[in-house]
Symmetry: C2
Subunit: 201 residues, 2 copies
């Protein structure tokens, strides 16, 4: 059994990575989160790109733990805002992690933007870094458009106003499994599978 650290304290993210490895037939990799390690200082997410933040977090955790580490950074790129909020998605209203304030601000800013210009993409960069310093970083995208009124209770962040391409419902109205199958995070983590497979004994 080899051990892989996911640079997160979020149990849902841990479950998601374990399911993806399972579904791909990658066995013998135990995935642990930051809570299962001795305290590691949180890495700041201050790079101008998702990739920079994901690699930065994975490097810090691989160094501190001596184990291979996976980290991700995600956000939403809105066409009518030139790709913002982007890396600032989680602190768009100025306060970090206030999902409601962030979503309401985005809806306000897009108040006068007509339906045909409300395209957006969820983006996730995922990085794998080994203790020896080898780095892999990938990007998953999920295209869709933004509705004017939040719908659905699943998911988090901007999910309640994001309708994926080809869907009628918002990301917050999808089941977790249906979301995994298409989402930016699911896509990015699956792109890491070839490298993760090599870590399994």
């Amino acid at each position: 059994m080899s051990t892989l650290v996911l640079a997160s304290r979020n149990q849902k993210k841990l479950g998601e990575l374990r399911r993806i490895l399972d579904a791909a037939g990658v066995h013998g990799l135990e995935v642990i989160g930051l809570d299962e390690l001795a305290p590691i200082p949180e890495s700041p997410e201050t790079e101008p790109t998702f990739e920079g933040n994901a690699v930065g977090k994975a490097v810090d955790v691989a160094r501190a733990s001596g184990l291979p580490a996976v980290a991700d950074d995600s956000g939403i790129e809105v066409d009518a805002l030139n790709g913002m909020p982007g890396v600032l998605s989680a602190r768009w209203s100025g306060k970090h992690g206030d999902d409601k304030a962030n979503l309401e601000l985005l809806l306000g800013q897009l108040g006068d933007v007509p339906d045909e210009r409300r395209g957006a993409a969820f983006v996730c960069a995922a990085a794998l870094v080994t203790p020896a310093g080898a780095q892999t970083v990938v990007r998953g995208e999920w295209r869709g458009s933004l509705v004017r009124h939040p719908r659905g209770a699943n998911g988090f962040g901007y999910d309640p106003i994001f309708v994926p391409e080809g869907a009628e419902v918002t990301a917050a109205e999808l089941s977790p499994e249906a979301k995994d199958a298409d989402s930016h995070r699911g896509r990015a983590l699956r792109l890491l599978l070839p490298d993760l497979r090599e870590l399994a004994p």
Copy 2:
């Protein structure tokens, strides 16, 4: 004496255009504002570009008044936000015209952005449209960078956090005359001078 309409109710903007015409030796053009015309419905600023909004306003006023009309649309493009707030500058916090909320939101969003990535430009598009339908649209830019704490009581909008290139003080610490000489609006209006000169008798 010919008459030119500036599509604005702002006396400061009227004064600025009159000063610029005077300084350029363009005489015989009387500049009036929207308040001096019969009521004209306000044009919405919903185009994705400054130029589109400026032309839209000038077209509406030239049609309604039967006079040549000048209109402008301005905002701030922040490098670290991919050029946003841009055309949404006046309603960045979701409410139109709340200068204080807009400025505080922008400072919050840039909280983690280091000094070397705090570049920005004030941008102004100015359009001249004649009743016959001839259109000229120009753009003035004013480069600078954004400080972390507002300074100065002159100006409006984002002036208190904008330090022009080559300056030590913010745009809100400049005298109105010093601001006119360099500002995006001053530059744009001066670019219209050749066309404005042709309107003078």
